[in-house]
Every structure is written in structure tokens, then in C-alpha cells.
């Protein structure tokens, strides 16, 4: 079955037609910003006269159906994660995810909080993460330009990764979303154990692990 999948990640050869389409995709990214945390406050200055995101063809959109770019602007609680996954799956391909700040990367200052997830990448593919608490508009625009370059090169293919390794993502989602159900007796959160998170990563398909390293080194 693997042979039937016509893509792989970093060394994907994109056709000339695809690279033409990628030019239009990178020059016209419409955002759906999921204002979960403090990162949303950095977006108005990025969009308005001071930093003017619209000169790159970027703009806000009202619904997931219309959007190309999902912005996770801050920490994600487990209940929010469920809605983020719904929104992500409503978006049409090609679609890209940008994580704002430390929280989607490793939990940030909420790393030991019981309702907050620490590693967004375990549950959905992240194409670009912006470190900082919070990243300033300069950093945000810099990240968007890097994302545009990645789209042009055909490297921002998180949505293909999600489709190909859906079982792995789905397993992690199910494991963490179990926390949203009511518990009537003392219950230990499986995700509080770093060893478990490590083992989830060890189970990850090679492509995802590879991509994780590349992304973190960059």
C-alpha cells in the first residue's frame, strides 16, 4: 500500500504545475486564527497599518472552510484541542498550521497544568512554530515569510503527513481526549508522565520524527 502514496516529505519532487500552484498558494494565505491564548493580541498589530500583513496577500477569514492557514495562538486546553481538531479537519487542502509561542511547542509556562496539552505536534501536524512568549509581530511576519518559502519549495506538507499517518495522530488524540470525560474516582493523568510522551514519540512514523528534528534544528 505504501507505494500507492505519491508523496514523501523533505525530498518530494514537485511537478512544474504544482510549483506554479504553490506560487498562488503562498501569495494568498487566508488565516483562521484560533484565539486560545495571549498570542491573539499580537495579530492586530501584524494585520493593521504598522506591520501590514495584507501586502503578502494574507488576511483573516471567518470560517475554517475558507481558510488555508490555522493559527494556534497560545496554549491549548484539552477541550479546546478537540475543537481545534474539528476546525482543522474542516479546512480544505492544502492547509497549514502555525503554532504561536512556547505553549504549542512544549507547554510553556503551563507545562505542569492539568488541563493544558504540552506537545501540539503529537495531535496534529505543525508546519511552523514560532518560539517566544509571545512572539512579537516582527517574529510573526518573519515566520510567515519562512512558511511562504517552505510552501514554494513544497516542504510545507503537514496536511499530507496527517492524511498518511492519521492512525498515529488519531491514537494520540484519543488518548488525550479521554481526559475530557468526567472521572469520579482518583485518576492519574497518563500524559503527566514524561516517559509516556517519550514513548509516543518513539512510536511515531519515521517521517514524522525526521520532520520534528529538522524543524527543531532550523
Amino acid at each position: 500500500m505504501e507505494d500507492a502514496v505519491l508523496f514523501n516529505l523533505r525530498d518530494e519532487r514537485q511537478s512544474a504545475w504544482e510549483s506554479v500552484l504553490n506560487y498562488f498558494r503562498k501569495r494568498s494565505m487566508w488565516m483562521l486564527y484560533y484565539c486560545t491564548g495571549c498570542g491573539a493580541i499580537e495579530l492586530p498589530p501584524s494585520m493593521t497599518s504598522r506591520y501590514d500583513m495584507e501586502r503578502f496577500g494574507m488576511g483573516p477569514m471567518a470560517t475554517p472552510r475558507q481558510a488555508d492557514l490555522l493559527l494556534i495562538t497560545g496554549y491549548l486546553s484539552v477541550k479546546t484541542l478537540k475543537r481545534v481538531i474539528y476546525s482543522y479537519e474542516q479546512m480544505q487542502e492544502p492547509k497549514y498550521v502555525v503554532g504561536f509561542g512556547s505553549c504549542p511547542i512544549n507547554g510553556g509556562i503551563y507545562w505542569d497544568s492539568y488541563p493544558v496539552i504540552n506537545h501540539l505536534e503529537l495531535f496534529m501536524p505543525v508546519d511552523m512554530s514560532i518560539a517566544g512568549c509571545m512572539p512579537r509581530p516582527q517574529a510573526v511576519l518573519d515566520a510567515f515569510q519562512k512558511l511562504m518559502a517552505e510552501i514554494q519549495d513544497g516542504h510545507a506538507v503537514g496536511y499530507k503527513r496527517y492524511r498518511k499517518h492519521y492512525d498515529w495522530y488519531k491514537r494520540n488524540q484519543d488518548a488525550v481526549l479521554a481526559r475530557t470525560e468526567a472521572v469520579l474516582e482518583p485518576w492519574e493523568d497518563p500524559f503527566s508522565d514524561p516517559a509516556l510522551v517519550e514513548s509516543l514519540w518513539n512510536d511515531a512514523p519515521e517521517e514524522i520524527k525526521e520532520n520534528r528534528e529538522v524543524r527543531h534544528d532550523a
Partner: protein, 298 residues
């Protein structure tokens, strides 16, 4: 056979209407950006947006949605065949009755298509759009009636001919009250602020477009572009004396559209009942005064 004979003209006008409409959209966005002291997107941004939309995946909610999307675009393109471009129409006729009749098909097609999506925000936006239509159609029809009374013809080509001989013959200077009424109605026709309550992204999640993805959104963009072309061309023909060459005609369209975008940039949004009341009160009374002055022979 006559249809086959006309096919190249019809296709030409279709592409022309979309190309001009998208260019107007891009220029409008850049103009708004400059008003806000931003750099703004390039003037060809709307072309990029449409091509990107057509390169994306899309979700249909059934046959009615497909039909509605196509029907709305087809209805407005059919209108474009009757609107003179530089004293020429694809069908050879510029009947204002047909134009007014056909323009509604665009909205009805959109209403049918997006209501089939099942999202409650979409019919909400459509009901606002159709309610607003009552607001701007009445002043528009009154002014058009006045122009028909003046010129004695309902053919837009003849109305353009009646204004030949320099700017002093334009109906803009002869009937400024009617022009003002149509400008206010135009703001509602293209759905810009203060009459953008049918889109209202922060309120009803962009209304009719809420479930449109990929190619359907691309079609909605094309629909809006043809709408802009038709409505700006209508005003240019009615009041600005048409044009002798395409460049002048396009220049006048740009002036009409950017005037509206300037108002859009500084206004806030009305509620739906405020919008209709405003249109009837101001545009309606201006149009009525214009009609009275013409009928009274002033």
C-alpha cells in the same frame, strides 16, 4: 444558429467582465490600504486569490449547491451581455428592463446554492441580502424611470447616445440629485460599508460564504467581480456618458468604484433595519425628488 454566431462575443464579454471586476477589486483593496497608510496588496491580488481558490479542495453539499453557484454566475454574466461597454453590447441591445430583471438572478442563484449548504448562518446572510435589495432597488428603479422619462427610451445604448457631446451633457451634471441617490444605492448593491451587513464576518461568519470552500469560494469571487463590472458599468452608462474608448470607460469605472471604497473605508456597519431605513429615507427621497423635478418639467 444565431447563438453560435454570437458565441465569441459572449465569451469575450464574460472574460472581460471577470478580468475588469477582479482588477477593480485589487485596485480597491490597494486604495483602502493607502487610505490607511499601509502598503497594501498588489493590484493583481484578486487574480491570485481566485487562482488559489481554484487550486484548493472543495466540499459540495449536493447538486443544488452546485447548480446555485453556477446559476448565480450565469445570471450576472447574462446581465453583462446587455450592459454597454464603450457603446457596444454583445447582444446588440441595452434594455434596462432586462438588466434590472437579470441582476436579481445572481442573488437568487446564490440564495439557492448557499441555503443548500445547511449552515444556519448562510440563510441568515441571504435573508439580509434580499432584505437589503428592497432597500436599494426602489431608489435605483425610480432614478432609472426618471432617465427613461427624460430620454424617451429604455435602451441604455440610446441613453448613452443622449449624453454625447462633452461632460456638460452628462446626466451627472444634469441630474445630480438622481446621481447621488444611485451612488448611495450602489454602496448597498456591492455590499460595502455601511451596507455590508450581509457579509458581516464578525457577526454571522461572512454570511452567504460561510460554507463555501475552494472552488465554490472562487466562483463567489468571480460572481462578485462580474457584479462589480455590471454595476459600475451601469452607473458609467447612466450618468457619466459612457466612453469613446475602453481605457476611458475603465477609468470611469475605477473612479466610481474607488469613490465607493473611500466611503467604505471610513464608515461603520449599519444594522439591517437601519440600513433599509437609511436607503429608503435618503436614497429613496433623493430619487423621488429627482423624479418629481423631471416630471414637473424643471
Amino acid at each position: 444558429m444565431r447563438f453560435l454566431h454570437m458565441l465569441p462575443q459572449l465569451l469575450g464579454v464574460s472574460f472581460l467582465a471577470m478580468a475588469i471586476g477582479l482588477l477593480l477589486m485589487g485596485l480597491g483593496r490597494q486604495f483602502t490600504a493607502r487610505l490607511q497608510r499601509r502598503v497594501g496588496p498588489p493590484f493583481y491580488q484578486a487574480y491570485i486569490d481566485v487562482l488559489k481558490c481554484f487550486s484548493k479542495g472543495s466540499i459540495t453539499h449536493g447538486f443544488v449547491m452546485d447548480l446555485g453557484s453556477i446559476m448565480s454566475l450565469a445570471g450576472l454574466l447574462a446581465t453583462a451581455y446587455y450592459v454597454p461597454f464603450v457603446q457596444w453590447t454583445a447582444t446588440g441591445s441595452g434594455s434596462l428592463v432586462i438588466i434590472l430583471y437579470m441582476m436579481t438572478i445572481g442573488y437568487l442563484g446564490m440564495a439557492m446554492g448557499v441555503s443548500a449548504s445547511g449552515n444556519p448562518q448562510a440563510p441568515l446572510g441571504i435573508s439580509r441580502a434580499l432584505a437589503l435589495m428592497f432597500g436599494y432597488k426602489i431608489p435605483l428603479v425610480m432614478v432609472i424611470l426618471a432617465m427613461i422619462l427624460v430620454t424617451g427610451t429604455s435602451d441604455l445604448l440610446n441613453i448613452v447616445n443622449a449624453q454625447q457631446g462633452g461632460p456638460s451633457h452628462w446626466f451627472l451634471l444634469k441630474f445630480p440629485i438622481g446621481f447621488l441617490a444611485v451612488e448611495i444605492a450602489f454602496q448597498g448593491m456591492i455590499g460595502e460599508r455601511p451596507y455590508d451587513m450581509m457579509i458581516a464576518p464578525a457577526e454571522i461568519a461572512s454570511g452567504p460564504m460561510v460554507e463555501l470552500s475552494g472552488k465554490y469560494l472562487g466562483l463567489a469571487f468571480l460572481l462578485h467581480s462580474v457584479q462589480l463590472y455590471v454595476e459600475t458599468a451601469l452607473i458609467v452608462n447612466l450618468f457619466l456618458g459612457g466612453a469613446a474608448n475602453p481605457a476611458t470607460f475603465f477609468g470611469k469605472q475605477v473612479v466610481v468604484y474607488l469613490t465607493s471604497m473611500a466611503v467604505n473605508a471610513v464608515m461603520a456597519r449599519y444594522r439591517i433595519e437601519q440600513g433599509i431605513a437609511h436607503l429608503w429615507k435618503w436614497a429613496g427621497s433623493l430619487a423621488f425628488i429627482q423624479l418629481l423635478t423631471i416630471k414637473g418639467g424643471f
